[in-house]
Symmetry: C2
Subunit: 246 residues, 2 copies
Amino acid sequence: MAHLPFITDFNQYLPHLSVDCVVFGFQENGLKVLLLKMKHHELWALPGGFVGRQETVEAAATRVLQERTGLGKIFLQQFHVFSDPHRSEGNAVTEGEPAAIAWFAQRFITIGFYALVPFDKVIPQPDLISDACTWWDVSDVGPLLVDHHLILKKALEALRLQLHYQPVGLNLLPPKFTMPQLQKLYETVLGRTLDRRNFQRRMLDFGILERLEERKTGVAHKAPYYYRFDRQRYQQALEEGLEKSQ
Amino acid sequence: MAHLPFITDFNQYLPHLSVDCVVFGFQENGLKVLLLKMKHHELWALPGGFVGRQETVEAAATRVLQERTGLGKIFLQQFHVFSDPHRSEGNAVTEGEPAAIAWFAQRFITIGFYALVPFDKVIPQPDLISDACTWWDVSDVGPLLVDHHLILKKALEALRLQLHYQPVGLNLLPPKFTMPQLQKLYETVLGRTLDRRNFQRRMLDFGILERLEERKTGVAHKAPYYYRFDRQRYQQALEEGLEKSQ
DNA sequence: ACAAAAGTGTTTTTAGTACACCCATGT
DNA sequence: ACATGGGTGTACTAAAAACACTTTTGT
């Protein structure tokens, strides 16, 4: 039987506390979420980790995500604390080193984060207790470890809410993107279609987009313009909420 | 020198984890928040507590609030986790039993809740480490213990947000109330005046209010009607968001 | 030349804001 | 009788939704 990984020293982490991350990526064919295939388990799970004794929960989540994705800066948002004392019941780790078994046998209160990352910049990397790390289409996700399905559901709700009062896209799209791409992203997250013309007007009215001279090439049919986010205004909109400019 | 309280057994709580509650109440003359005066401290603080080993964080917050207010059912909402490793620096407890000193010397990650309670049903009760528990007008609150001012600020922001997509009032107003009272509540939370007629229309359109035959008595000038919330619809609006009926 | 996708502008509907008159009550 | 606050309805404005035609490009 294989062993649980040797984590140098569990004592470096705060007991009973974890972070779990719902990492969203976006591709033409849908909204993706990064999942880990647990060793000795049929189930997939959200990437997660523990909180260092001198670390903020945000730093812990960032660290975990950097390890799983290879990315530097990551857009993160805490959205809920999951603390049902029975949330991890029936999923006890029963193999590996005694210290590891004891650690994982703890009751954990987990802080849920969602992250928005550029899909094709991610180099998925399994952690020590998983043997695969891959993207899943959000609508194809099956049963997950413990309460991770609930966490995913809540993350999606939080992301949908964010869409209404904060800009989304800078972290999910390439630096240059077309309006149809941005619209597809919104439609995917919201789960419904939007009117092309109204959508474009609304986005432009927010004043966070810059149209480039360049158009997409090698594409069938009329070539769409490229856009990019105005970093300055985007950041401002994140902090102050979306408002029509003027 | 007085001693820190004897808490039966710190071991019954999860280490490093606390809950802090921003308890909002409403009175004619403004929005109130319940604060504790710490023993051996000039500073006031938010009511808070620790999380039992088999308790959800919601249950912990509820327990704390029941002890401080004497109330049964309390509307609670978690809104943020505060985890700066230095958040409680410079406020170490240096008196009392060694076990207590050690416990309070821990680094704490705290989960912020806000609560909405009926102001005049509350019987404020200090806890073991405080010698007063009273209402403060939100705009009169001075410096608070550690980062409690930040927590209060974030709670207010969260409450203002809630006002936009969820009903508020059932927990802050008496069972029967007048439209001007409800409006005052909204104006107080939002920090700006609202148009009387438009406000009334909007509230009624949400379909969560029921007008009673009864009118306020003994009042100068024209007597306003009493209203009450339709519990059923109120609850539904809480879950699904506010929408105009029909 | 045509099918498919993207650019753009106008109309309609709805929600939000502004505003004015009448009524009841205590002084 | 009058000052004050409360009940009610209408007109205006701005935002959101609905909608159609033209342009470009690859096949």
